[in-house]
Symmetry: C2
Subunit: 103 residues, 2 copies
DNA sequence: TTACTAGGTAACTTTATGTAACCATAATAA
DNA sequence: TTATTATGGTTACATAAAGTTACCTAGTAA
């Protein structure tokens, strides 16, 4: 009987969220400044609008991103990181530093 | 013209690797000590053998994991993190700390 | 009139992942 | 003898996730 034979729920959950395609890049992209839908899409052109929209909803549901709809015409939507999201982005910098060294 | 209008290849690549399902949990699981195929599977039961095997090959191809086949019967396979993999695991601890605080 | 913009949505195709069965070999159990 | 178990896979098939294309709304520009 090992004392460390089960994964922590929180660890599992964070990898479940961040293990989805494009999630990391989207959060990374929002780190500098809030961006609109089309701006995120311009930064990550291989990510389709359909999935980008799905990911943004997931990030909003997780309290990582805030969606601000600007009632202009055409309607604009601005996405910004919450405090939770900003801290997530900061934690991802360690991974990016690893990438810079090893990839 | 913005100076920061393109994603760095290394950043893209690391999210491409780590953005695959189960990758993070597998690396996490190997952090404590090397493990055999069936041990990893026991830690992450929802991960199928088919995909676990696929992920291990990818990790080996990326130089993150070392596969050691022990010619015993039945044949055993032990997976351990390389230096590159160990440093990856360390960088993921920041993400796990975020999870512990926010999830 | 036609085209363009922004931020989507709907229908459909392709890729990734999940599931169940199977393999080889040797040791062990019935 | 005839199963059964263990290990680390592989194979074929089913389902879920992601990619593609066309379309929507309303206002503006050509």
């Amino acid at each position: 009987m090992d004392t460390e034979n089960k994964l922590c729920n929180k660890v599992e959950e964070c990898y479940h969220i961040m293990g989805k395609k494009w999630m990391g890049l989207i959060v990374h992209t929002l780190m500098e400044e809030p961006k609109r839908f089309s701006e995120i899409h311009a930064f990550i052109p291989d990510l389709s609008k359909r999935v980008l929209n799905e990911r943004m909803k997931e990030l909003e549901d997780n309290g990582i991103v805030l969606r601000n709809v600007i009632a202009d015409r055409p309607v604009r939507t601005e996405y910004s990181l919450t405090k939770k999201g900003t801290e997530l982005g900061r934690s991802l910098k360690a991974l990016e530093a690893w990438a810079d060294k090893w990839l």
